[in-house]
Chain length 581, copies 2
């Protein structure tokens, strides 16, 4: 890292957003003291700040986060930094003509993570020659020796098979390190992995190459300082990018007007299709929007964007972790990435979504094929836990449209906002119930049926909105008035409307195409969890493991169709539990 900082990195520490700046990612985030020492050497932070390491309030956390302006991606979950670096290098090559290089410091232990091999495959396949992985082969993982110890050839054979250029060096030989960086920079058409054989804790006898010393303070820091040559105050003048490499002209900060698709009321359109249509419209208006897909663009409906804007479409094949990590890397450049796959397959990449929240990332994720309503394909393809997962992401927005116009509007809303947003779409067609142009703010809801005599409230979202409306109509025909709320914003939730409904109608039936835990029912109840009196709630959700069946049979078997909602309302009302509570 010293050689990199002194001789190869091009970075303006006074202007982290400067075009042409290189990117340095510590995939081994636990090496944060080294990263912070580099910042100190570069003059970016002071001695005093360095000594706040891991203390309350310090931005020098145990693992690096973008609370520091020079950190683009939070790391600390191993196996993330390299695939995120792929996202930076890939978008750099494709959209900016590679004015910058991406340097990723990896540990040897983390080469066991499959996400690292997704990254090797993607980067080799895309010829990302501006990406360099520096792999610290120090032989020791957290609890002992790694699989391959110091056998850098074992790693080189594997990484080379993925069409990378590999260089094996003694990681303490400064001249060899310099030559390796030179070679990596000269390399054309292939990314480079520098496999550096090192001694962990080198130069401090008490811990050098010792097991059981990982993550522990030195037994005698004064002695260690003396062994390492005494207190020094090394300053490094880091080279700034030679020319202010301009952003590719086509990518501008200005956005045109988004001409969203318009669907006539009553037509049946799948929300995934509306998402795909709206994404094309968004792509026309904003050239900072990029789209990633996990080889299911015909299902998620990103294929329209892919054919219209092939430069801005990134095919990640079936590698959801790499997809989310690449999106994370791309948003670090200021791009607005939308990544799409089946709702349930985001569970594959959930650790990276979690880490994206720590990165304070601007990331839009779109999951199709939500719930049992997909029908015959069975439970492995059904998103039945995605609301629980995405609700549990810090600061996230979770949206679940029920019709095509709502989907288009919510997509535009997602693009306009910052942070991690999730949009849940449905496989089958649902009737258009909202007029084109209707507004759907984040944190809002729509009251679709309402009257003074309402005896209960049905809260639904997505596919169950239509079941709820059918149930309400059947009940109304029988003289039972109920309120219906379309809770399209699952997080943040419209607490005000829910509280008003609780006061007016007393009892709730929540209904969702999702497991009972963590979804709409829990979100509704949580709206009262700051001391407000919650209503009585009957929660309808998927309580049994589905199999194969038609969509209608699935909704019926799960007890979330109109009939089940109607029965639940009748039970509440008959029990005399309805009415202002």
């Amino acid at each position: 890292m010293a050689v990199l900082l002194a001789d190869h990195l091009r970075y303006d520490f006074t202007d982290p957003g400067r075009a042409g700046n290189d990117h340095l990612i510590f995939s081994k985030g636990h090496a944060s003291p080294l990263l912070y020492a580099m910042y100190k050497a570069a003059g970016a932070i002071t001695d005093d700040e360095l000594l706040t390491f891991r203390r309350l309030g310090s931005r020098l956390e145990g693992h690096p986060t973008p609370r520091l302006p020079w950190v683009e991606v939070a790391t600390g979950s191993l196996g993330l930094g390299l695939p995120a670096g792929v996202g930076l290098a890939w978008s750099g090559q494709r959209l900016y003509g590679s004015p910058d290089r991406v340097w990723v410091l990896c540990g040897d232990s983390e080469l066991a993570e499959g996400s690292i091999w997704e990254a090797f495959e993607q980067a080799g396949y895309e010829h990302l020659d501006h990406l360099t992985a520096v792999i610290d082969v120090n032989r020791l993982g957290q609890r002992g020796e790694t699989r391959h110890g110091w056998d850098t050839a074992a790693y080189a054979r594997r990484i080379g098979a993925f069409d990378w250029h590999t260089i094996e060096i003694d990681g303490h030989d400064v001249a060899a390190i310099g030559r390796a960086y030179d070679e990596a920079v000269r390399m054309s058409g292939r990314p480079t992995a520098i496999l550096a054989r090192t001694l962990k804790g080198r130069g401090v006898a008490a811990v050098e190459n010792a097991e059981g010393a990982h993550g522990k303070p030195l037994p005698d820091p004064e002695e260690a300082i003396a062994e390492l040559g005494g207190i020094r105050d090394i300053r490094v003048r880091v080279q700034v990018p030679a020319v202010a490499a301009a952003r590719r002209e086509a990518i501008t900060a200005e956005h045109g007007h988004v001409s969203l698709p318009r669907y006539p009321r009553g037509e049946k359109v799948a929300t995934r299709t509306a998402f795909g249509d709206a994404l094309v419209a968004l792509g026309a208006a904003r050239d900072d929007v990029v789209v990633l897909d996990g080889e299911v663009s015909d299902s998620t409906r990103t294929e329209g964007f892919a054919s219209k804007y092939p430069d801005r479409f990134f095919e990640c094949y079936i590698a959801e972790q790499q997809m989310v990590a690449a999106a994370l890397g791309m948003q670090a450049r200021g791009l607005v990435p939308f990544a799409a796959t089946f709702a349930t397959f985001f569970s594959r990449a959930f650790d990276f979504v979690r880490m994206a929240a720590i990165s304070r990332a601007n990331l839009k994720l779109v999951g199709s094929h939500a719930g049992v309503s997909i029908g015959e394909d069975g439970p492995s393809q059904m998103g039945l836990e995605d609301l629980a997962l995405f609700r549990a992401v810090h600061g996230s927005v979770v949206l679940y449209p029920c019709d095509a116009n709502q989907t288009a509007a919510l997509l535009a809303t997602l693009a306009a906002g910052r942070g991690i947003g999730y949009l849940r779409t449905t496989r089958g067609g649902t009737p258009v119930i909202y007029p084109p142009g209707e507004a759907f703010p984040v944190g809002g809801s729509k009251v679709l049926r309402s009257g003074d005599a309402d005896r209960a409230t049905i809260v639904a979202a997505g596919v169950t909105v239509h079941e709820a409306l059918a149930a309400a109509d059947a009940l109304a025909a029988d003289g039972i008035a109920v309120r219906v709320i379309d809770l399209y914003s699952v997080k943040p939730v419209d607490a005000q409307t829910l509280r008003a409904a609780a006061e007016a109608t007393g009892s709730f039936v929540t209904v969702e195409d999702h497991w009972p835990e963590g979804g709409i029912g829990d979100a509704v109840l949580a709206a009262f969890a700051n001391g407000h009196q919650p209503p009585r709630v009957t929660k309808l959700a998927v309580h049994t493991m589905p199999g194969s069946a038609t969509p209608a049979e699935q909704l019926h078997a799960a007890g979330i169709d109109a009939k089940a909602i109607e029965a639940a309302v009748r039970t509440l009302v008959d029990a005399g539990q309805a009415g202002a509570g």
Copy 2:
């Protein structure tokens, strides 16, 4: 598959549990019609049942599940079958002397999944020569050509680099297929990958090697039948295992008495340490218990088991997906696997946990380092979403002990039960408050403070139980009596005790070291979500993104320490909102 079934598979379809049976896993689960056709050819299912494919109630689902007795692992999420097969082969080699072989049919598209490369690495490293991957290189993924098309050499180079034996064949050449299987069976010391170049939809002109035909019915099935040679009724006599390969003598169905560790009250012990101690005790009593870890056994505390029972300890290095999948494979043999890593790193393998539920698996997962209470390492290492994730697993049990004796008891309970169980442990020491030997049934809770004059109820679990007790004591000293419930069973939740407390005390404060979504607060409210009147609830949880700080500072900053609980109760009581509601 026809050649395998006729000549190489050793399997007794009349006795799926027969010792020595081979294992056949369709990692490409969407090829289920082929699997079911094999069952039909083997005489295991009838023509009539075959025609129930994907219909309501049929066990022939869109993707295979263990509702069929010959399916050991549900598939349909790509990249799972091979790592699960590694679990079967690894435990077979280590504990049973490899009486059986594991055959895994993989798609070429799924080779993009990192989990597949975790499996290649693990299997090559462990010399699992009884494992054979048959890779259907048909060139076409769901939405078009794969990365490497028909370039089987590209795959062979990669897979070979992971120390597998590879064979490239024409996948329609029956003689070549037979030779490849023979070679795989003879191979010693290395697993074998057979890369079979195939034509997707071969023999049916309308779809052969055609894009856009994936997952769609044939345009003209009658014509296709004619092209394929007309209606036939092929029967295959599948060979049964030559000898009833006995289970290794040491592995018995009988269990000895578990002598759990006993901790004196008042001592400070980390629940992760108690877990590690109890695991050793469990290992002594039951030789069907196996343990897997993701190279953090010094942190999770599985290291005690590892050193005492090295045969039954499986080091997965930092490959959480492979770890969970291996555990899934091992439980298919009747073993009882415990897999451990940091709580938050299970988010890496969550898709496989989800799939394990579809597999009706018996799987025990233990996550350490829960919550902000870990202290300085920062948010990347904190399990703050694990309760939400594991609650959203169908049929799961979620346990969260607060002291050492409770941890030991809950571990024994987990081992005795079936299904997916999750145990959440804490990094730092917590005081022992329960006597050794106390019972903690699944679905129970402990009322730690209770009186007729209780004006509110505090519901806590794990580390916050101790904060809750401190708050209750401070409030009691001020004349405010409160009930305290230790909700160690987060799922299923003790609805009866919670409802009684709601009736008696009117208001709840829930407090958890977790994000506000999907954890203890939501679990408490959900206990009322079948039409019961919920109490007023103030939910204390981690609402802001933590940084680095000491454990005590973290609890304070998150607003989940004794002081915050005390303040929340006072607010509820002062507002006159307490009292029977």
